[in-house]
Protein backbone atom coordinates (compact mmCIF):
# COMPACT_ATOMS: atom_id res chain seq x y z
CA UNK A 1 0.00 0.00 0.00
CA UNK A 2 1.28 3.44 -0.89
CA UNK A 3 -0.65 6.11 1.01
CA UNK A 4 1.75 9.07 0.90
CA UNK A 5 -0.11 10.96 -1.79
CA UNK A 6 -1.75 14.32 -2.20
CA UNK A 7 -5.24 14.69 -0.76
CA UNK A 8 -7.51 16.24 -3.39
CA UNK A 9 -10.18 18.70 -2.30
CA UNK A 10 -13.20 16.51 -2.97
CA UNK A 11 -15.42 17.57 -0.08
CA UNK A 12 -16.25 15.84 3.19
CA UNK A 13 -18.83 13.44 1.73
CA UNK A 14 -16.65 12.13 -1.04
CA UNK A 15 -13.67 11.82 1.31
CA UNK A 16 -15.76 9.80 3.76
CA UNK A 17 -16.96 7.65 0.90
CA UNK A 18 -13.46 7.08 -0.43
CA UNK A 19 -12.36 5.98 3.01
CA UNK A 20 -15.19 3.46 3.23
CA UNK A 21 -14.78 2.08 -0.29
CA UNK A 22 -11.01 1.91 0.12
CA UNK A 23 -11.26 -0.14 3.28
CA UNK A 24 -13.90 -2.46 1.93
CA UNK A 25 -12.09 -2.99 -1.37
CA UNK A 26 -8.73 -3.58 0.30
CA UNK A 27 -10.20 -5.93 2.95
CA UNK A 28 -12.58 -7.86 0.73
CA UNK A 29 -11.75 -7.50 -2.96
CA UNK A 30 -7.97 -7.26 -3.11
CA UNK A 31 -7.41 -10.67 -1.48
CA UNK A 32 -9.73 -12.19 -4.14
CA UNK A 33 -8.18 -10.45 -7.14
CA UNK A 34 -5.70 -13.16 -8.02
CA UNK A 35 -8.29 -15.93 -7.91
CA UNK A 36 -10.86 -13.89 -9.84
CA UNK A 37 -8.26 -13.48 -12.59
CA UNK A 38 -7.10 -17.09 -12.56
CA UNK A 39 -10.57 -18.63 -12.54
CA UNK A 40 -12.00 -15.94 -14.84
CA UNK A 41 -15.11 -15.77 -12.65
CA UNK A 42 -16.86 -12.90 -10.92
CA UNK A 43 -17.76 -13.65 -7.25
CA UNK A 44 -21.53 -13.09 -7.28
CA UNK A 45 -21.63 -12.35 -3.54
CA UNK A 46 -19.89 -9.05 -4.24
CA UNK A 47 -23.07 -7.68 -5.85
CA UNK A 48 -24.95 -8.09 -2.59
CA UNK A 49 -22.10 -6.58 -0.57
CA UNK A 50 -21.84 -3.59 -2.88
CA UNK A 51 -25.60 -3.23 -2.67
CA UNK A 52 -25.55 -3.19 1.13
CA UNK A 53 -22.83 -0.54 1.10
CA UNK A 54 -24.95 1.61 -1.22
CA UNK A 55 -22.36 1.54 -4.01
CA UNK A 56 -24.63 0.37 -6.82
CA UNK A 57 -26.71 3.53 -7.05
CA UNK A 58 -24.22 6.27 -6.23
CA UNK A 59 -25.77 8.81 -8.63
CA UNK A 60 -29.40 7.75 -8.14
CA UNK A 61 -31.82 9.75 -5.92
CA UNK A 62 -32.72 8.29 -2.54
CA UNK A 63 -36.35 7.64 -3.56
CA UNK A 64 -35.15 4.75 -5.78
CA UNK A 65 -32.77 3.42 -3.16
CA UNK A 66 -29.72 5.33 -4.34
CA UNK A 67 -27.21 7.40 -2.41
CA UNK A 68 -28.04 10.67 -4.22
CA UNK A 69 -24.39 11.52 -4.66
CA UNK A 70 -22.26 12.99 -7.44
CA UNK A 71 -20.46 11.71 -10.53
CA UNK A 72 -17.29 12.69 -8.68
CA UNK A 73 -18.25 10.27 -5.91
CA UNK A 74 -18.90 7.58 -8.49
CA UNK A 75 -15.45 8.11 -10.04
CA UNK A 76 -13.88 7.71 -6.60
CA UNK A 77 -15.80 4.47 -5.96
CA UNK A 78 -14.71 3.08 -9.33
CA UNK A 79 -11.10 4.13 -8.64
CA UNK A 80 -10.90 2.55 -5.20
CA UNK A 81 -12.45 -0.71 -6.40
CA UNK A 82 -10.09 -0.78 -9.42
CA UNK A 83 -7.18 -0.28 -7.05
CA UNK A 84 -8.14 -3.64 -5.54
CA UNK A 85 -9.29 -5.39 -8.74
CA UNK A 86 -9.72 -3.71 -12.13
CA UNK A 87 -12.02 -6.44 -13.41
CA UNK A 88 -14.40 -6.11 -10.44
CA UNK A 89 -14.39 -2.37 -11.04
CA UNK A 90 -15.22 -2.83 -14.73
CA UNK A 91 -18.24 -5.00 -13.91
CA UNK A 92 -19.18 -2.55 -11.17
CA UNK A 93 -18.97 0.38 -13.60
CA UNK A 94 -21.00 -1.44 -16.25
CA UNK A 95 -23.71 -2.15 -13.70
CA UNK A 96 -23.80 1.10 -11.75
CA UNK A 97 -23.14 3.59 -14.53
CA UNK A 98 -23.90 2.05 -17.93
CA UNK A 99 -27.09 0.34 -16.79
CA UNK A 100 -28.29 2.01 -13.57
CA UNK A 101 -27.37 5.58 -14.46
CA UNK A 102 -28.81 5.25 -17.99
CA UNK A 103 -32.14 4.14 -16.50
CA UNK A 104 -31.96 7.02 -14.03
CA UNK A 105 -31.27 9.52 -16.83
CA UNK A 106 -33.68 8.23 -19.47
CA UNK A 107 -36.26 6.07 -17.72
CA UNK A 108 -39.86 7.00 -17.00
CA UNK A 109 -40.92 7.10 -13.34
CA UNK A 110 -42.51 3.68 -13.82
CA UNK A 111 -39.35 2.21 -15.34
CA UNK A 112 -37.19 3.66 -12.58
CA UNK A 113 -39.50 2.33 -9.89
CA UNK A 114 -39.63 -1.07 -11.54
CA UNK A 115 -35.95 -1.66 -12.25
CA UNK A 116 -33.76 0.57 -10.06
CA UNK A 117 -34.47 -0.68 -6.52
CA UNK A 118 -33.43 -4.27 -7.24
CA UNK A 119 -30.43 -3.20 -9.32
CA UNK A 120 -29.31 -0.92 -6.49
CA UNK A 121 -29.80 -3.50 -3.74
CA UNK A 122 -27.61 -5.95 -5.66
CA UNK A 123 -30.42 -8.46 -6.08
CA UNK A 124 -30.25 -7.88 -9.84
CA UNK A 125 -27.22 -7.41 -12.09
CA UNK A 126 -27.25 -4.84 -14.89
CA UNK A 127 -25.58 -4.49 -18.28
CA UNK A 128 -25.65 -2.30 -21.34
CA UNK A 129 -25.34 -3.58 -24.90
CA UNK A 130 -24.39 -1.54 -27.94
CA UNK A 131 -21.44 -3.33 -29.61
CA UNK A 132 -21.94 -6.13 -32.10
CA UNK A 133 -19.48 -8.44 -33.81
CA UNK A 134 -19.65 -6.18 -36.87
CA UNK A 135 -20.28 -2.88 -35.09
CA UNK A 136 -17.60 -1.74 -32.64
CA UNK A 137 -16.26 1.77 -33.13
CA UNK A 138 -18.88 2.21 -35.87
CA UNK A 139 -21.64 1.51 -33.38
CA UNK A 140 -24.39 3.12 -35.47
CA UNK A 141 -23.96 0.36 -38.06
CA UNK A 142 -25.50 -2.11 -35.60
CA UNK A 143 -27.76 -4.79 -37.06
CA UNK A 144 -29.88 -5.96 -34.10
CA UNK A 145 -33.37 -5.51 -35.54
CA UNK A 146 -36.44 -4.44 -33.62
CA UNK A 147 -39.56 -4.79 -35.74
CA UNK A 148 -42.85 -3.29 -34.66
CA UNK A 149 -45.64 -5.83 -34.62
CA UNK A 150 -48.99 -4.78 -33.12
CA UNK A 151 -48.35 -3.64 -29.54
CA UNK A 152 -44.76 -4.78 -29.29
CA UNK A 153 -41.34 -4.98 -30.86
CA UNK A 154 -39.77 -8.23 -31.99
CA UNK A 155 -35.97 -8.30 -31.58
CA UNK A 156 -33.69 -10.45 -33.71
CA UNK A 157 -29.89 -10.45 -33.87
CA UNK A 158 -26.89 -10.48 -31.55
CA UNK A 159 -24.72 -8.25 -29.36
CA UNK A 160 -21.06 -8.92 -28.68
CA UNK A 161 -18.47 -8.04 -25.97
CA UNK A 162 -21.17 -7.32 -23.40
CA UNK A 163 -19.79 -6.79 -19.89
CA UNK A 164 -21.94 -8.66 -17.31
CA UNK A 165 -23.87 -9.99 -20.36
CA UNK A 166 -24.31 -13.53 -19.07
CA UNK A 167 -25.00 -12.46 -15.46
CA UNK A 168 -27.40 -9.57 -16.08
CA UNK A 169 -31.07 -9.58 -15.11
CA UNK A 170 -31.74 -6.16 -16.65
CA UNK A 171 -30.06 -4.94 -19.82
CA UNK A 172 -30.17 -1.65 -21.69
CA UNK A 173 -30.03 -2.75 -25.34
CA UNK A 174 -29.83 -0.63 -28.48
CA UNK A 175 -31.53 -1.92 -31.64
CA UNK A 176 -32.50 -0.70 -35.10
CA UNK A 177 -36.19 0.14 -35.26
CA UNK A 178 -35.78 1.79 -38.68
CA UNK A 179 -32.78 0.37 -40.57
CA UNK A 180 -33.15 2.93 -43.38
CA UNK A 181 -32.93 5.93 -41.04
CA UNK A 182 -29.29 5.43 -39.99
CA UNK A 183 -28.51 7.05 -36.66
CA UNK A 184 -32.14 8.20 -36.36
CA UNK A 185 -33.42 4.64 -36.56
CA UNK A 186 -31.96 3.38 -33.29
CA UNK A 187 -34.04 2.82 -30.15
CA UNK A 188 -32.98 1.83 -26.62
CA UNK A 189 -34.88 -1.01 -24.90
CA UNK A 190 -35.01 -2.44 -21.40
CA UNK A 191 -34.55 -6.18 -21.73
CA UNK A 192 -35.19 -8.69 -18.98
CA UNK A 193 -33.26 -11.94 -18.77
CA UNK A 194 -36.48 -13.96 -18.59
CA UNK A 195 -37.87 -12.68 -21.89
CA UNK A 196 -38.61 -15.61 -24.21
CA UNK A 197 -36.05 -15.97 -27.01
CA UNK A 198 -33.28 -14.15 -25.13
CA UNK A 199 -30.13 -16.10 -24.37
CA UNK A 200 -26.39 -15.55 -23.93
CA UNK A 201 -23.16 -17.34 -24.69
CA UNK A 202 -20.82 -18.57 -21.97
CA UNK A 203 -18.48 -15.79 -20.87
CA UNK A 204 -15.36 -15.26 -22.97
CA UNK A 205 -11.77 -16.16 -22.15
CA UNK A 206 -9.83 -12.87 -22.26
CA UNK A 207 -6.30 -11.49 -22.02
CA UNK A 208 -7.18 -9.25 -19.08
CA UNK A 209 -10.14 -8.05 -17.03
CA UNK A 210 -10.70 -11.74 -16.40
CA UNK A 211 -13.58 -12.32 -14.04
CA UNK A 212 -15.47 -9.37 -15.43
CA UNK A 213 -17.77 -11.62 -17.38
CA UNK A 214 -18.08 -10.69 -21.07
CA UNK A 215 -20.54 -12.50 -23.34
CA UNK A 216 -22.58 -12.51 -26.51
CA UNK A 217 -26.31 -11.79 -26.33
CA UNK A 218 -28.64 -13.66 -28.66
CA UNK A 219 -32.12 -12.41 -29.55
CA UNK A 220 -34.47 -14.83 -31.30
CA UNK A 221 -37.94 -13.32 -31.77
CA UNK A 222 -37.76 -11.64 -28.37
CA UNK A 223 -41.06 -9.85 -27.74
CA UNK A 224 -40.61 -6.50 -26.03
CA UNK A 225 -43.63 -4.38 -25.06
CA UNK A 226 -43.67 -0.65 -25.92
CA UNK A 227 -43.41 0.24 -22.24
CA UNK A 228 -39.86 -1.14 -22.29
CA UNK A 229 -38.61 1.54 -24.69
CA UNK A 230 -36.00 3.62 -22.86
CA UNK A 231 -36.35 7.23 -23.99
CA UNK A 232 -38.18 7.63 -27.30
CA UNK A 233 -38.48 5.46 -30.38
CA UNK A 234 -35.79 6.49 -32.89
CA UNK A 235 -33.95 8.57 -30.27
CA UNK A 236 -31.66 5.78 -29.12
CA UNK A 237 -28.51 7.48 -30.35
CA UNK A 238 -29.22 10.47 -28.15
CA UNK A 239 -29.58 8.15 -25.14
CA UNK A 240 -26.42 6.33 -26.19
CA UNK A 241 -24.22 9.35 -26.84
CA UNK A 242 -25.26 11.35 -23.76
CA UNK A 243 -24.64 8.30 -21.62
CA UNK A 244 -21.24 7.77 -23.21
CA UNK A 245 -19.93 11.09 -21.92
CA UNK A 246 -20.68 10.08 -18.32
CA UNK A 247 -19.49 6.56 -18.98
CA UNK A 248 -16.09 7.79 -20.18
CA UNK A 249 -15.62 9.96 -17.09
CA UNK A 250 -16.72 7.30 -14.60
CA UNK A 251 -14.66 4.55 -16.26
CA UNK A 252 -11.61 6.84 -16.36
CA UNK A 253 -11.55 6.06 -12.63
CA UNK A 254 -10.47 2.52 -13.50
CA UNK A 255 -7.38 4.07 -15.10
CA UNK A 256 -6.49 6.15 -12.05
CA UNK A 257 -7.21 3.14 -9.83
CA UNK A 258 -4.87 0.96 -11.90
CA UNK A 259 -2.12 3.56 -11.49
CA UNK A 260 -2.66 3.66 -7.72
CA UNK A 261 -2.53 -0.15 -7.67
CA UNK A 262 0.80 -0.05 -9.55
CA UNK A 263 2.33 2.11 -6.80
CA UNK A 264 0.72 -0.02 -4.08
CA UNK A 265 2.43 -3.08 -5.54
CA UNK A 266 5.87 -1.73 -6.40
CA UNK A 267 6.63 0.68 -3.54
CA UNK A 268 7.20 -2.05 -0.92
CA UNK A 269 9.35 -3.84 -3.50
CA UNK A 270 11.48 -0.71 -3.94
CA UNK A 271 12.45 -1.10 -0.27
CA UNK A 272 12.56 -4.89 0.11
CA UNK A 273 14.39 -5.78 -3.08
CA UNK A 274 18.14 -5.47 -2.54
CA UNK A 275 20.72 -5.37 -5.32
CA UNK A 276 24.33 -4.22 -5.10
CA UNK A 277 23.84 -4.27 -1.34
CA UNK A 278 20.99 -1.81 -1.11
CA UNK A 279 17.27 -1.25 -1.75
CA UNK A 280 16.65 -0.78 -5.46
CA UNK A 281 14.59 2.31 -4.59
CA UNK A 282 17.86 4.02 -3.66
CA UNK A 283 18.93 4.00 -7.30
CA UNK A 284 18.12 7.13 -9.25
CA UNK A 285 16.82 5.26 -12.29
CA UNK A 286 14.22 3.59 -10.07
CA UNK A 287 13.43 6.87 -8.32
CA UNK A 288 12.89 8.41 -11.75
CA UNK A 289 10.47 5.62 -12.59
CA UNK A 290 8.37 5.98 -9.44
CA UNK A 291 8.42 9.78 -9.76
CA UNK A 292 7.04 9.53 -13.29
CA UNK A 293 4.37 7.06 -12.16
CA UNK A 294 3.31 9.30 -9.29
CA UNK A 295 3.18 12.38 -11.53
CA UNK A 296 1.11 10.60 -14.18
CA UNK A 297 -1.31 9.22 -11.58
CA UNK A 298 -2.01 12.54 -9.92
CA UNK A 299 -2.15 14.46 -13.23
CA UNK A 300 -4.76 12.00 -14.47
CA UNK A 301 -6.66 12.24 -11.18
CA UNK A 302 -6.67 16.04 -11.31
CA UNK A 303 -8.13 16.06 -14.83
CA UNK A 304 -10.62 13.23 -14.28
CA UNK A 305 -11.89 14.66 -10.96
CA UNK A 306 -12.30 18.11 -12.52
CA UNK A 307 -14.27 16.71 -15.48
CA UNK A 308 -16.40 14.72 -13.01
CA UNK A 309 -17.16 17.97 -11.19
CA UNK A 310 -18.20 19.45 -14.55
CA UNK A 311 -20.60 16.50 -14.95
CA UNK A 312 -22.08 17.40 -11.55
CA UNK A 313 -22.50 21.03 -12.62
CA UNK A 314 -24.18 19.81 -15.80
CA UNK A 315 -21.66 21.38 -18.14
CA UNK A 316 -19.34 18.58 -19.16
CA UNK A 317 -18.20 18.64 -22.79
CA UNK A 318 -17.70 15.60 -25.02
CA UNK A 319 -14.18 16.87 -25.67
CA UNK A 320 -13.16 16.70 -22.02
CA UNK A 321 -15.04 13.50 -21.23
CA UNK A 322 -13.17 11.78 -24.04
CA UNK A 323 -9.85 13.51 -23.30
CA UNK A 324 -9.69 12.67 -19.60
CA UNK A 325 -10.64 9.08 -20.32
CA UNK A 326 -8.04 8.88 -23.11
CA UNK A 327 -5.34 10.20 -20.81
CA UNK A 328 -6.20 8.11 -17.74
CA UNK A 329 -6.55 4.95 -19.85
CA UNK A 330 -3.33 5.31 -21.82
CA UNK A 331 -1.39 6.34 -18.74
CA UNK A 332 -2.75 3.26 -16.94
CA UNK A 333 -1.22 1.10 -19.66
CA UNK A 334 2.08 3.01 -19.62
CA UNK A 335 2.38 2.85 -15.84
CA UNK A 336 1.36 -0.82 -15.66
CA UNK A 337 4.13 -1.47 -18.18
CA UNK A 338 6.59 0.38 -15.93
CA UNK A 339 5.32 -1.45 -12.85
CA UNK A 340 6.18 -4.79 -14.47
CA UNK A 341 9.58 -3.34 -15.41
CA UNK A 342 10.17 -2.13 -11.85
CA UNK A 343 9.65 -5.65 -10.51
CA UNK A 344 11.73 -7.32 -13.22
CA UNK A 345 11.56 -11.10 -13.21
CA UNK A 346 9.23 -11.14 -10.19
CA UNK A 347 6.78 -8.98 -12.13
CA UNK A 348 6.91 -11.24 -15.18
CA UNK A 349 5.55 -14.27 -13.31
CA UNK A 350 1.97 -15.00 -14.30
CA UNK A 351 0.63 -14.87 -10.76
CA UNK A 352 2.29 -11.57 -9.87
CA UNK A 353 -0.20 -8.75 -9.23
CA UNK A 354 1.57 -6.40 -11.65
CA UNK A 355 1.30 -8.97 -14.45
CA UNK A 356 -2.45 -9.06 -13.86
CA UNK A 357 -2.66 -5.28 -13.71
CA UNK A 358 -0.65 -5.06 -16.96
CA UNK A 359 -3.10 -7.34 -18.76
CA UNK A 360 -6.11 -5.54 -17.25
CA UNK A 361 -4.77 -2.11 -18.26
CA UNK A 362 -4.79 -3.03 -21.95
CA UNK A 363 -8.59 -3.10 -21.96
CA UNK A 364 -8.62 0.57 -20.99
CA UNK A 365 -7.39 1.47 -24.48
CA UNK A 366 -10.04 -0.70 -26.14
CA UNK A 367 -13.20 -0.99 -24.05
CA UNK A 368 -15.92 1.66 -23.77
CA UNK A 369 -14.47 3.26 -26.92
CA UNK A 370 -10.97 2.77 -28.29
CA UNK A 371 -8.20 5.33 -27.84
CA UNK A 372 -8.53 6.02 -31.58
CA UNK A 373 -12.21 6.93 -31.25
CA UNK A 374 -11.50 9.06 -28.17
CA UNK A 375 -8.75 10.95 -30.05
CA UNK A 376 -11.05 11.39 -33.03
CA UNK A 377 -13.75 12.84 -30.77
CA UNK A 378 -11.41 15.28 -29.05
CA UNK A 379 -9.87 16.45 -32.33
CA UNK A 380 -13.21 16.73 -34.09
CA UNK A 381 -14.72 18.76 -31.24
CA UNK A 382 -11.70 21.04 -31.22
CA UNK A 383 -11.91 21.64 -34.96
CA UNK A 384 -15.66 22.11 -34.64
CA UNK A 385 -15.02 25.01 -32.29
CA UNK A 386 -12.96 26.73 -35.01
CA UNK A 387 -15.70 26.71 -37.63
Amino acid sequence: MFAATMQFDLGEDVNAMREMVHRWAQDRVRPMAEEIDRKNLFPPELWQEMGELGLLGVTVPEEYGGAGMSYLAHVIAVEEIARASASVSLSYGAHSNLCVNQIKLNGTDEQRAKYLPRLISGEHVGALAMSEAGAGSDVVSMKLRAEKRNDRFILNGTKYWITNGCDADTLVVYAKTDPEAGSKGITAFLIEKEMVGFSTSEHFDKLGMRGSNTAELIFEDVEVPFENILGEEGKGVRVLMSGLDYERVVLAGIGTGIMAACLDEIMPYMVERKQFGQSIGNFQLMQGKIADMYTAMNSARAYVYEVAKACDRGDVTRQDAAACCLYASEQAMVQAHQAVQAMGGAGFLSDSPVARIFRDAKLMEIGAGTSEIRRMLVGREMMGAMR
Partner: protein, 253 residues
Amino acid sequence: MKVLVPVKRVIDYNVKVRVKADGSGVDLANVKMSMNPFDEIAVEEAIRLKEEGVASEVVAVSIGVKQAQETLRTALAMGADRAILIVAADDVHTDIEPLAVAKLLAAVVKEEEPGLVLAGKQAIDNDMNATGQMLSALLGWSQATFASEVTIEGDHALVTREVDGGLQTIKAKMPCIVTVDLRLNEPRYASLPNIMKAKKKPLDEKTPDDYGVDVSPRLSIVKTAEPPTRKAGVKVGSVDELITKLKDEAGVI
Protein backbone atom coordinates in the same frame (compact mmCIF):
# COMPACT_ATOMS: atom_id res chain seq x y z
CA MET B 1 -30.09 2.77 28.51
CA LYS B 2 -27.87 5.39 26.97
CA VAL B 3 -24.34 4.38 25.90
CA LEU B 4 -21.52 6.91 25.73
CA VAL B 5 -18.61 6.13 23.41
CA PRO B 6 -15.47 8.29 23.52
CA VAL B 7 -13.57 8.29 20.22
CA LYS B 8 -10.16 9.70 19.34
CA ARG B 9 -8.72 10.98 16.06
CA VAL B 10 -5.32 9.38 15.57
CA ILE B 11 -2.81 8.72 12.78
CA ASP B 12 -4.24 6.03 10.53
CA TYR B 13 -2.89 2.61 11.42
CA ASN B 14 -1.61 2.12 7.85
CA VAL B 15 0.60 5.20 7.95
CA LYS B 16 4.31 4.79 8.57
CA VAL B 17 4.88 7.17 11.46
CA ARG B 18 7.84 9.55 11.18
CA VAL B 19 9.48 11.51 13.96
CA LYS B 20 10.03 15.23 13.35
CA ALA B 21 13.62 16.19 12.60
CA ASP B 22 13.99 18.11 15.89
CA GLY B 23 12.67 15.19 17.95
CA SER B 24 9.82 17.30 19.35
CA GLY B 25 7.17 14.85 18.25
CA VAL B 26 5.64 12.97 15.36
CA ASP B 27 5.27 14.53 11.90
CA LEU B 28 1.58 15.08 11.18
CA ALA B 29 1.86 17.21 8.02
CA ASN B 30 -0.38 15.76 5.28
CA VAL B 31 -0.75 12.53 7.26
CA LYS B 32 -3.95 10.52 7.02
CA MET B 33 -5.93 10.50 10.26
CA SER B 34 -8.68 8.04 11.26
CA MET B 35 -10.67 6.89 14.23
CA ASN B 36 -8.62 4.95 16.78
CA PRO B 37 -9.30 1.29 15.80
CA PHE B 38 -10.19 0.26 19.38
CA ASP B 39 -12.73 3.10 19.52
CA GLU B 40 -14.24 1.83 16.29
CA ILE B 41 -14.77 -1.52 17.99
CA ALA B 42 -16.42 0.29 20.93
CA VAL B 43 -18.75 2.16 18.53
CA GLU B 44 -19.65 -1.11 16.82
CA GLU B 45 -20.42 -2.78 20.17
CA ALA B 46 -22.62 0.13 21.23
CA ILE B 47 -24.55 0.00 17.95
CA ARG B 48 -25.04 -3.74 18.32
CA LEU B 49 -26.40 -3.19 21.84
CA LYS B 50 -28.84 -0.71 20.35
CA GLU B 51 -29.84 -3.10 17.57
CA GLU B 52 -30.45 -5.80 20.19
CA GLY B 53 -32.71 -3.40 22.06
CA VAL B 54 -30.39 -3.24 25.09
CA ALA B 55 -29.31 0.35 24.43
CA SER B 56 -31.71 3.13 23.54
CA GLU B 57 -29.26 5.79 22.37
CA VAL B 58 -25.59 5.89 21.37
CA VAL B 59 -23.71 9.14 21.94
CA ALA B 60 -20.19 9.55 20.58
CA VAL B 61 -17.86 12.10 22.15
CA SER B 62 -14.45 13.29 21.03
CA ILE B 63 -11.92 15.61 22.63
CA GLY B 64 -9.31 17.27 20.47
CA VAL B 65 -8.98 19.53 17.46
CA LYS B 66 -11.82 20.78 15.31
CA GLN B 67 -11.01 18.18 12.62
CA ALA B 68 -12.13 15.46 15.05
CA GLN B 69 -15.56 16.29 13.62
CA GLU B 70 -14.72 13.89 10.78
CA THR B 71 -14.06 11.13 13.30
CA LEU B 72 -17.41 11.79 14.94
CA ARG B 73 -19.12 11.77 11.53
CA THR B 74 -17.67 8.32 11.00
CA ALA B 75 -19.22 7.18 14.30
CA LEU B 76 -22.54 8.73 13.24
CA ALA B 77 -22.32 7.03 9.82
CA MET B 78 -21.76 3.69 11.54
CA GLY B 79 -24.93 4.24 13.55
CA ALA B 80 -24.36 6.48 16.58
CA ASP B 81 -27.32 8.79 17.20
CA ARG B 82 -25.56 12.03 18.03
CA ALA B 83 -22.15 13.41 18.83
CA ILE B 84 -20.37 15.87 21.09
CA LEU B 85 -17.08 17.48 20.12
CA ILE B 86 -15.08 19.17 22.86
CA VAL B 87 -12.59 21.40 21.07
CA ALA B 88 -9.65 21.39 23.44
CA ALA B 89 -6.71 22.16 21.15
CA ASP B 90 -5.97 24.35 18.15
CA ASP B 91 -2.80 22.61 17.12
CA VAL B 92 -2.98 19.07 15.80
CA HIS B 93 0.25 18.31 17.68
CA THR B 94 -1.33 18.99 21.06
CA ASP B 95 -2.38 15.78 22.74
CA ILE B 96 -4.76 16.14 25.66
CA GLU B 97 -3.52 13.97 28.50
CA PRO B 98 -5.59 11.04 29.82
CA LEU B 99 -6.43 12.72 33.15
CA ALA B 100 -7.82 15.81 31.42
CA VAL B 101 -9.75 13.60 28.99
CA ALA B 102 -11.11 11.54 31.88
CA LYS B 103 -12.20 14.70 33.75
CA LEU B 104 -13.98 15.99 30.65
CA LEU B 105 -15.63 12.62 30.10
CA ALA B 106 -16.70 12.53 33.75
CA ALA B 107 -18.36 15.91 33.24
CA VAL B 108 -20.09 14.64 30.08
CA VAL B 109 -21.25 11.54 31.96
CA LYS B 110 -22.78 13.72 34.70
CA GLU B 111 -24.66 15.69 32.06
CA GLU B 112 -25.72 12.80 29.81
CA GLU B 113 -26.23 10.15 32.51
CA PRO B 114 -25.42 7.09 30.38
CA GLY B 115 -25.80 3.60 31.83
CA LEU B 116 -22.60 2.43 30.14
CA VAL B 117 -19.40 3.93 28.79
CA LEU B 118 -17.77 1.84 26.06
CA ALA B 119 -14.25 2.99 25.24
CA GLY B 120 -11.25 1.71 23.35
CA LYS B 121 -8.70 0.09 25.69
CA GLN B 122 -6.12 2.59 24.48
CA ALA B 123 -5.39 4.94 21.59
CA ILE B 124 -2.83 3.69 19.11
CA ASP B 125 -0.94 7.00 19.08
CA ASN B 126 0.32 7.30 22.66
CA ASP B 127 -0.71 3.87 23.95
CA MET B 128 -1.49 5.27 27.41
CA ASN B 129 -4.20 2.78 28.34
CA ALA B 130 -5.33 5.05 31.16
CA THR B 131 -8.42 7.07 30.29
CA GLY B 132 -11.03 4.39 30.97
CA GLN B 133 -9.49 3.48 34.32
CA MET B 134 -9.18 7.14 35.38
CA LEU B 135 -12.76 7.82 34.38
CA SER B 136 -13.92 4.88 36.49
CA ALA B 137 -12.02 6.25 39.48
CA LEU B 138 -13.37 9.78 39.03
CA LEU B 139 -16.95 8.55 38.78
CA GLY B 140 -16.65 5.79 41.35
CA TRP B 141 -18.07 3.37 38.74
CA SER B 142 -17.00 -0.22 38.23
CA GLN B 143 -14.62 -0.92 35.38
CA ALA B 144 -14.00 -3.87 33.07
CA THR B 145 -10.97 -3.50 30.82
CA PHE B 146 -9.67 -5.44 27.78
CA ALA B 147 -13.13 -6.78 26.95
CA SER B 148 -13.49 -9.50 24.34
CA GLU B 149 -17.14 -10.18 25.14
CA VAL B 150 -19.79 -7.99 26.73
CA THR B 151 -23.24 -9.11 27.86
CA ILE B 152 -25.60 -6.80 29.71
CA GLU B 153 -27.81 -8.62 32.21
CA GLY B 154 -30.09 -6.26 34.05
CA ASP B 155 -28.14 -4.32 36.67
CA HIS B 156 -24.77 -5.84 35.83
CA ALA B 157 -22.48 -6.54 32.88
CA LEU B 158 -20.76 -9.84 32.24
CA VAL B 159 -17.43 -9.02 30.65
CA THR B 160 -14.86 -11.47 29.36
CA ARG B 161 -11.38 -9.96 29.65
CA GLU B 162 -8.27 -10.89 27.74
CA VAL B 163 -5.62 -11.36 30.40
CA ASP B 164 -2.18 -12.92 30.32
CA GLY B 165 -2.60 -16.64 29.93
CA GLY B 166 -6.30 -16.72 29.08
CA LEU B 167 -9.73 -15.26 29.53
CA GLN B 168 -11.26 -13.95 32.72
CA THR B 169 -14.98 -13.32 33.10
CA ILE B 170 -16.09 -10.69 35.59
CA LYS B 171 -19.44 -9.40 36.70
CA ALA B 172 -19.48 -5.60 36.92
CA LYS B 173 -22.21 -3.57 38.56
CA MET B 174 -23.94 -1.09 36.27
CA PRO B 175 -23.39 1.72 35.45
CA CYS B 176 -19.87 0.83 34.42
CA ILE B 177 -16.94 1.59 32.15
CA VAL B 178 -15.93 -1.10 29.69
CA THR B 179 -12.74 -0.71 27.66
CA VAL B 180 -12.67 -2.95 24.60
CA ASP B 181 -9.98 -5.11 23.06
CA LEU B 182 -9.31 -6.13 19.47
CA ARG B 183 -11.28 -9.35 19.37
CA LEU B 184 -14.61 -8.06 20.68
CA ASN B 185 -16.12 -7.61 17.21
CA GLU B 186 -15.40 -6.64 13.62
CA PRO B 187 -16.64 -3.10 12.98
CA ARG B 188 -18.99 -2.62 10.04
CA TYR B 189 -18.37 -0.44 7.00
CA ALA B 190 -20.61 2.61 7.04
CA SER B 191 -22.85 2.41 3.97
CA LEU B 192 -23.11 5.34 1.57
CA PRO B 193 -26.70 6.22 2.51
CA ASN B 194 -25.65 6.20 6.17
CA ILE B 195 -22.65 8.43 5.42
CA MET B 196 -25.09 10.91 3.87
CA LYS B 197 -27.58 10.58 6.76
CA ALA B 198 -24.77 11.17 9.28
CA LYS B 199 -24.49 14.74 8.07
CA LYS B 200 -27.97 15.47 9.38
CA LYS B 201 -27.39 13.98 12.82
CA PRO B 202 -26.70 16.44 15.65
CA LEU B 203 -23.09 17.24 16.50
CA ASP B 204 -22.72 19.65 19.44
CA GLU B 205 -19.55 21.63 19.85
CA LYS B 206 -18.28 22.46 23.32
CA THR B 207 -15.09 23.67 24.98
CA PRO B 208 -13.32 22.48 28.15
CA ASP B 209 -14.45 25.75 29.78
CA ASP B 210 -18.08 24.66 29.35
CA TYR B 211 -17.23 21.82 31.73
CA GLY B 212 -14.83 23.78 33.92
CA VAL B 213 -11.92 21.47 33.22
CA ASP B 214 -8.31 22.59 32.95
CA VAL B 215 -6.66 20.69 30.09
CA SER B 216 -3.18 22.19 30.35
CA PRO B 217 -0.51 19.49 30.20
CA ARG B 218 1.12 18.02 33.31
CA LEU B 219 3.74 16.11 31.40
CA SER B 220 6.41 17.51 29.13
CA ILE B 221 7.86 15.52 26.28
CA VAL B 222 11.62 15.38 26.62
CA LYS B 223 12.39 13.60 23.41
CA THR B 224 10.72 11.57 20.67
CA ALA B 225 12.90 9.06 18.80
CA GLU B 226 12.33 6.37 16.21
CA PRO B 227 12.90 2.81 17.38
CA PRO B 228 16.45 1.63 16.58
CA THR B 229 16.65 -0.13 13.23
CA ARG B 230 16.87 -3.86 13.56
CA LYS B 231 20.21 -5.39 12.68
CA ALA B 232 20.28 -8.18 10.12
CA GLY B 233 20.19 -11.69 11.57
CA VAL B 234 22.50 -14.60 10.73
CA LYS B 235 21.74 -17.75 8.80
CA VAL B 236 22.88 -21.03 10.27
CA GLY B 237 23.66 -24.10 8.21
CA SER B 238 22.70 -26.82 10.66
CA VAL B 239 21.09 -27.55 14.00
CA ASP B 240 24.53 -28.22 15.47
CA GLU B 241 25.76 -24.80 14.38
CA LEU B 242 22.62 -23.23 15.88
CA ILE B 243 23.22 -24.95 19.22
CA THR B 244 26.87 -23.90 19.24
CA LYS B 245 25.94 -20.29 18.53
CA LEU B 246 23.22 -20.27 21.19
CA LYS B 247 25.72 -21.69 23.68
CA ASP B 248 28.88 -19.79 22.87
CA GLU B 249 27.77 -16.51 21.27
CA ALA B 250 24.32 -15.82 22.70
CA GLY B 251 25.04 -17.59 26.00
CA VAL B 252 21.36 -18.56 26.39
CA ILE B 253 21.84 -22.31 26.75
